[in-house]
């Protein structure tokens, strides 16, 4: 199995582009943001809220791992992802702008909205996204000069998957990129 090497710079570049694309969605009309492309599918806003919920499970864990990690004098070399973590990450990562396989979402990650959303509530979803993924960006920046292969993070699905910080960032970013593809699919089917 080929090695998966990751660097914070690569992650930062991808995250910046992702955040820009989500920001542009704010210009869409409310109906485009809230319409389900088909029954049981999520609206664009629900997808973003799901990305928010997924990230919220990691905020404190990332902060704690960063606080525990000691400083380096130099920038880290590319990080080699472990085999099991690579399978988990690659399962999320879209390939050729397609989601590789679809999976059932655990209930705790499901977005729940009232039937009629106010503009304020819509804005809140975007603000939360910017705040949470801004946190991810700061964490990536901080990790550049930290010893990142000492502290492990337990994933949101439990100790069956643990991550070192770079693996955790890669998982969260790949998860978000996967849902960006879903958003683009939703936009296509609504047009």
């Amino acid at each position: 199995m080929p090695t998966l090497l990751i660097t914070p710079e690569n992650q930062i570049q991808r995250l910046n582009l992702l955040m820009k694309k989500i920001d542009q969605l704010q210009q869409l009309e409310t109906s485009r943001l809230t319409t389900l492309p088909k029954p049981k599918a999520w609206s664009i806003l629900e997808i973003i809220e799901h990305m928010n919920i997924a990230y919220m499970f990691y905020v404190e864990k990332i902060d704690a791992a960063l606080a525990k990690s000691t400083d380096h004098n130099s920038i880290n070399e590319p990080f080699k992802v472990r085999a099991w973590q690579k399978i988990i990450i690659m399962g999320q990562r879209p390939k050729d702008c397609k989601r590789k396989w679809k999976m059932k979402t655990l209930r705790k990650f499901e977005p729940i909205f009232p039937n009629d959303l106010s503009q304020e509530q819509i804005n809140e979803v975007f603000e939360k996204f910017n705040s949470l993924y801004g946190h991810l960006k700061q964490a990536m920046l901080s990790s550049r000069q930290k010893e990142v292969s000492k502290t492990k993070i337990t994933s949101a699905i439990g100790p069956i998957v643990t991550f070192y910080l770079p693996e955790c960032f890669e998982f969260l970013l790949s998860h978000a990129e996967r849902h960006l593809v879903q958003i683009e699919e939703t936009l296509d089917s609504l047009s």
Binding site: I6, N16, S74, I75, P78
Partner: protein
């Protein structure tokens, strides 16, 4: 900005001769910025907000290749301009990173203020002509060097012309800029006189 700093900035605009009113306006448009070693001044995926003039330190401009490795496109250093010009001018997402390789002090001017220079005094048009001409010639010269010179020749040419402060930055950045492996750069450093 103190007078010594301002003299350094003025030196970067040799074609520009301003009256006292325009000079004080020009001086007011620049903001001092400081960056720690290894700090990302501009991130790929974001839009460059400033045109910089470097007071202290060395910065590397690099792009990431498919493997995520840094490919160094150029350096900036004391007395030189810095920033991601294409992103700054076209207001588009940058494809490149700008990183401080040494603690850096810079003067920054934002896009609106940069554009206002060309209305402040016609001398800035002349400066702009010279500045972009020199940038273009520099890039053409570098392209020719990369395509025609051997690794050893590229190393010698670079070491002969680069400022001293560039010679002490991490070797991997210099090696990448010269399109050679760090091991090759290290070998040339030990064995080649210039």
């Amino acid at each position: 900005m103190d007078d010594t700093t301002y003299q350094k900035l003025k030196h970067f605009f040799p074609q520009v001769h301003l009256g006292s009113e325009s000079e004080s306006k020009f001086r007011s448009l620049w903001v001092p910025k400081s960056f720690d070693r290894s700090e990302l001044i501009t991130e790929a995926g974001n839009t460059e907000r400033y045109f910089y003039f470097v007071l202290e330190g060395v910065q590397a401009l690099y792009i990431l290749n498919e493997k995520g490795e840094k490919v160094v496109l150029g350096f900036s250093y004391s007395g030189s301009p810095s920033g991601v010009f294409d992103s700054f001018i076209y207001k588009t997402s940058s494809f490149t990173f700008l990183e401080a390789l040494k603690p850096s002090k810079m003067l920054a001017i934002n896009y609106e203020n940069y554009q206002s220079l060309f209305e402040l005094d016609p001398d800035f048009q002349t400066w702009g002509h010279h500045f972009f001409r020199d940038i273009l010639m520099g890039r053409l010269y570098r392209e020719a060097e990369l395509l025609t010179l051997s690794a050893e020749e590229r190393y010698i040419q670079f070491m002969q012309r680069c400022p001293k402060e560039l010679q002490v930055i991490p070797q991997k950045y210099l090696a990448s800029y010269l399109n050679m492996k760090p091991e090759t750069f290290s070998r040339l450093r030990k064995s080649t006189r210039y």
